[in-house]
Symmetry: C2
Subunit: 420 residues, 2 copies
């Protein structure tokens, strides 16, 4: 197995020397050819997907997992996404900076592909297509390691993709699926820093920690969002409520959904009745700190529970909301600095002074003023597509689109210059 | 020891919440106060340095190491460097991008400090001052781990630095020396990803590999340069020779010095006599591939040796030069793609077509046309200072100056926006 993984990685590195040279127009045409080929092979792909689903059901996989695995009714929109990526602006080749030094040397900082990406994800076959499209768009090679529950589907998708590549005489090593499931094989892959330039895990906190701990290749960590909104005393209550409801309930299972609501003590009394009604209406249940418990004085102890310390450290991924009353902006900032995963945190306020203080003090990938945290997303930010959301500080922060899949090189042009 | 390291890291993280808010003018004045304080304590620092040198001699440390350790005659220029960093443009606060989305959300990408840096280096006390100055300039906190041979010197420097900080009521946790030498303690430090944002090793390949293998924190890898120059058949011989001599001999012990010279077969015959004379004059010795051996037909077998495979994989750090004759630009590119550490590689040519082909195909941090590789340096590139040279592709490539010690955050301003 090790030999096979090594070969895959080294073939990708070799292929990257030609893939990174493709011009924008060619990459666009290749992406459309891939979309056409996936479209042409819809039947085969859906058949493989039905096999995966059948096996999954036999194994007793949970319904939400089976749902994520299923391509039924979704393949057309996935193919459409590839065509959209084809139309995006190609970031590769941009001259980011240019400068003539006092000694006459001409210095250019040019945007180039990263090289070889390894993307580790779970049982979502749509990610296979997403990653393939974004890698091709940016002149990168990709090694894809999807969940074992979707192996047949992923193989069928990759076969169709390679048929699309073949028309353009593009090496199949540009996009390779690693059909491995064991953690020890993954561990080995993560040490191949001579061939792989970047590891992108897409999954739960456990997968991210595993990659960080075992990789000698740079890893983009992200995806875990313990997100906060602070309702400042000056907030417009009528306008604030839909924002909180949206942040918590519009899609509770994703990383940019709201986890903890901080409420200024001066506004809690006026805010709570209508807010709680709106949230309960959407099926939300609550974890209240002592002061919020006292303020709300709940009778229904299935909807309301007292918050434990660990609740503030939890990314709920569900319709649970922590609520804490604070006596100042400072206390809210302090809570967020302590518990936030630095993904998305916001303030609802009518005070531009408090907004400025909040922006200054909260060091998260995305800091919001009067908006739902749900906007932290490559599509919403206008990137056209997203490969991951980074919560670390190196290379990229927040949503990562095509540009974040590039690096740069320095080009130094002289007239036989020597250093004094 | 673990408890002490953990405390240092967590104190740094806490301090970073105030250090990152310092405005440019204040940081400038703090840096000048630090410079003044180091100047004021020159006597104490030099006394500590004399102690380190005495101990080092007693231990039998090699002369080059003792030389690097010594501050004699160097402290004034080190202090001057701090004043220069004070005058540099502060990159923090820059709005990198700004955009109003179709839904009216205002998106700003703002440059901010990274947070907490851990810098691991060897017995060079000047690095202590460099790192302290660059960290303060960019609003970062730094944990410094210098070589054990300079512990007394580093402690004296840090004490003087803290006295400078005290005048501005700046937390001493902004800059902390970890007085540890053991690899197991370092290993523990490298796992504190909740408190440290970036690890920068400055030292040999062994230290870099150790950090990559043991760190759960992002690591900037670099410093190892296996650098190439290719003499194209069209090169101007008279102008090319000084460039090659400069790249190899101007400072052979550094990472951007030349390691392997590739020579087009059509020009070798004309180039070698004068080139070899100039290089031998500087004390250079050679490792020749078969064709160069045949062409040169050396009689002196102390100056000329036959190259072994591993010679092409060696960063010489000394006056040794590998020479290989190639029959084409393609063969040169292929050799560089195989053996380069992607630090600095160049072509000497009069053909703009070949220059363009070389730039396109060589994916190194710095790619040179008609210039010495010795220019890959923050100072030479006009960054004003340098914390490291990165040879990886994430975050920063090539020389890292103040700007490369920053990241960004997204600020999203709305009018109670919700996601549809």
């Amino acid at each position: 197995m090790k030999h096979r993984i090594l070969t895959i990685a080294e073939n990708a590195k070799e292929a990257s020397n030609t893939i990174r040279l493709l011009d924008s127009e060619t990459k666009k045409e290749i992406l459309n050819a891939v979309a056409n080929s996936i479209d042409h092979h819809q039947h085969t792909i859906l058949k493989a997907n039905a096999d995966d689903l059948k096996k999954g059901r036999a194994k007793g996989l949970a319904e939400p997992l089976l749902d994520r695995l299923s391509l039924t009714g979704r393949l057309d929109s996935i193919i459409e996404d590839v065509r959209k990526v084809a139309e995006l602006l190609d970031p590769v080749g941009e001259i980011i900076e240019e400068n003539i030094l006092p000694n006459g040397l001409k210095l250019s900082k040019k945007r180039v592909p990263i090289g070889v990406l390894a993307v580790i994800y779970e049982a979502r076959p749509n990610v296979t297509v997403d990653v393939a499209a974004l890698a091709l768009k940016t002149g990168n090679c990709a090694i894809l390691r999807g969940g074992k529950e979707t192996l047949a589907t992923n193989k069928a998708i990759m076969a169709a993709t390679h048929k699309g590549l073949k028309k353009w005489d593009i090496s199949p090593y540009a996009l390779q699926l690693i059909p491995i499931a064991s953690r020890s094989a993954l561990k080995y892959l993560l040490t191949l820093d001579h061939a792989i330039d970047l590891v992108i895990p897409r999954g739960g906190a456990g997968l991210h920690a595993f990659c960080r701990q075992n990789s000698t290749i740079p890893v983009i960590t992200g995806g875990v969002g313990i997100c906060h909104l602070f309702v400042d005393e000056s907030a417009n209550i009528q306008k604030a409520i839909p924002v909180i409801v949206n942040a918590k309930t519009q899609r509770p299972s994703v990383c940019n959904a709201l986890d903890t609501l901080l409420v200024h003590e001066e506004i809690a009394h006026k805010l709570f009745p209508r807010l709680l009604e709106a949230l309960i209406d959407k099926g939300v249940t609550f974890r209240l700190d002592k002061r919020a418990w006292k303020e709300i004085a709940p009778e229904d102890e299935t909807t309301f529970l007292k918050a434990e310390e660990e609740d503030w450290q939890t990314e709920w991924m569900s319709l649970i909301l922590g609520i804490k009353i604070v006596d100042s902006l400072e206390e809210a900032v302090h809570h967020i600095q302590r518990y936030s995963s630095s993904h998305s945190d916001g303030i609802l306020t009518e005070s531009s002074e408090n907004a400025a203080l909040f922006i200054q003090n909260i060091d998260s990938a995305a800091v919001y003023i009067n908006a739902s945290t749900r906007f932290t997303d490559g599509g919403q930010f206008g990137f056209g597509a997203e490969i991951a959301v980074s919560t670390q500080k190196l290379h990229a922060r927040g949503p990562m689109g095509p540009k974040e899949l590039t690096t740069y090189k320095w080009i130094v042009e002289g007239n036989y210059h020597t250093r004094a």
